[in-house]
């Protein structure tokens, strides 16, 4: 294999969106060919950002149609029009506006169930959510229902004490369904208005563990069932989300580790394939490193603008 092949292809891909948009945006006239070339580059850049291939293809087809329409090519500044079309379309696919949590009023107990693959950030996110809700005046209780990972309970207890939020844990417990149920029972009895349940990491392809999370889900009937996913996830993100959604019916997604330099195309894949709102993004390891998901900002990031 010629080694030079790689670097040539790298060059071919190194055009960033900002370059592309500068070129296109400055053009007074763009031809259909201009648009087609640009769309091809957009396709590659979206793939570099880890947007799922099927999503990319759908996006590209739709964009090409709109961007080569007469009204665009004949408009006063077709280049800028084109740029706007691409950006707006991605924002739209991401959900147009930030989506918050849907919880019941503080006079009853709401349940948030967190689930996802191993190491995705569930336990850390549980404590971040608790800290956030506490700041908003709610009274959260954390429930340590991960009985598998070594020291998972200690981890949540430590995080809970750092933010002064109580943690329900049961020494020697073996059944996460029981712990989750007991945690909810305690939450109601002791007038906590939000119960946040941390569960152990599981692979979406592990039938036994998926059955287990379904049992937890059915036992506590969550108001929010949130999949915590790593923002750095690649093409596989949609398979993962689909499996969880088929098992428990997700109400939304939290994307952790957005403080990495990932372009975060998984956000676009997840939203457009599952239709689930992305509610928050994790931007660090500390308890206040949780931000609302702002589609505008993520669209620009995916596009490398």
């Amino acid at each position: 294999m010629r080694s030079s092949g790689v670097s040539i292809l790298f060059d071919r891909l190194s055009t960033t969106f900002s370059d592309l948009f500068r070129q296109m945006g400055g053009k007074a006239k763009i031809s259909e060919k201009n648009v087609q070339d640009a769309v091809e580059q957009i396709k590659l850049a979206l793939l570099e950002a880890d947007v799922n291939l099927r999503v990319v293809r759908r996006f590209v087809n739709a964009t090409l149609k709109e961007a080569t329409g007469e009204h665009v090519l004949r408009s006063v500044s077709p280049g800028q029009q084109f740029v706007k079309i691409v950006h707006d379309r991605i924002v739209h696919l991401l959900g147009d506006e930030a989506a918050g949590l849907n919880l019941k009023g503080p006079d009853t107990t709401s349940v948030i169930l967190l689930l996802g693959l191993q190491g995705s950030g569930k336990t850390t996110t549980a404590s971040k959510l608790a800290a956030r809700l506490k700041k908003e005046g709610r009274r959260p209780l954390l429930v340590a229902a991960d009985l598998v990972r070594p020291a998972a309970v200690d981890q949540l207890v430590t995080l809970g004490s750092q933010i002064a939020v109580d943690v329900h844990s049961e020494k020697g417990a073996k059944d996460p369904v029981k712990v989750a149920k007991n945690g909810l029972k305690r939450g109601k009895k002791e007038l906590y208005d939000t119960v946040i349940i941390d569960t152990s990491g599981r692979m979406h392809v592990d039938a036994d563990l998926m059955k287990e999370i379904k049992s937890v889900f059915q036992a506590v009937k969550p108001d929010e069932t949130l999949m915590v996913a790593d923002a750095m996830t690649g093409q596989h993100a949609v398979d993962i989300a689909k499996s969880f959604d088929e098992t428990v019916e997700l109400s939304g997604v939290i994307l952790s580790k957005f403080d990495s330099d990932t372009r975060g195309g998984a956000a676009l894949s997840l939203k457009s394939i599952t239709g689930k709102a992305i509610k928050f993004i994790g931007v660090g390891e500390k308890s206040d490193d949780l931000e609302p998901f702002v589609p505008e900002r993520i669209a620009s990031r995916i596009l490398g603008m």
């Binding site: 294999m1 092949g5 790689v6 292809l9 790298f10 071919r12 891909l13 590659l44 793939l47 570099e48 950002a49 880890d50 291939l53 693959l117 191993q118 190491g119 995705s120 950030g121 598998v148 990972r149 070594p150 020291a151 998972a152 200690d154 981890q155 207890v157 430590t158 995080l159 750092q162 692979m203 979406h204 392809v205 592990d206 790593d230 750095m232 996830t233 690649g234 093409q235 596989h236 993100a237 398979d239 993962i240 580790k257 403080d259 990495s260 330099d261 990932t262 372009r263 195309g265 998984a266 390891e285």
Partner: protein, 279 residues
Amino acid sequence: FQLGPHSEGFYEKLEDALIEADIKASIAMEISDELRNSSQAGKLSSPEELRSFVRDVISQMILTVNLDPENNDNAIYLVLGVNGVGKTTSMAKLARRWLDAGRSVSFAAGDTFRAAAVDQLAVHAGRLGIKIFQQGQGADPSAVIFDGLESIKAKGEGILLADTAGRMHNKSQLVKELQKIDRVIRSKVDDPSYRRILVIDATTGQNGIQQAEVFHQALGIDGIILSKYDSRARGGLALSISRTLGIPFAYMGTGEGYGDISPMDPEALVESIMSAIEG
């Protein structure tokens, strides 16, 4: 679809399957270009020839290395990577593997940052029946690892597996902290007995290339563990990293149990990528 007729559609499908395996788009195009050129030259006429060509190209691109200790000398392995990839668990798996080979293994609890990270490693040490060098939360990781090194040097014939806190490669302060640990280790041991292992999660997308690049530049990586390969992500990242950075892969993690680690097997990766192409 089948590996078959030499239509343009075929090459597109091949590229798609490679991209869906998380192989960098430019490398996917490189592979299909190569195939296109060879078959145009009349070199590949039957589907069987096409298939074995693709297999060869892919498996040749994946670099591997054996990082099991070669002799009975002291050795230290520093395990690093971004948050949550499986560093601590992989250490426990390696310990089991090397204990089974008759070696003496101990841990240094170099993640003094994350909540209960030391407890997590201590649980593993207890289950494996091995020694753990630890100080409290917030202690200097270099000091913890230094202690462990002193001790195995005094006794001889020991392997020290040193944990580090997960850190994003794009946080330069945290990468500098790793370099400090690296300097301390180098001041104590000879290079041949010191190995730096990077852990990368198989579900990671293109960002994995950046992770490998930055950690390799900062410390020099001897080999990579591709963890969570049981996710059924196809692991094309291994191909991209080998190809673009020349860093070899040492092991793959296939579950949460101690036995769930094996030497990197390019054939397994090739199989899973090929099944996507042919399925």
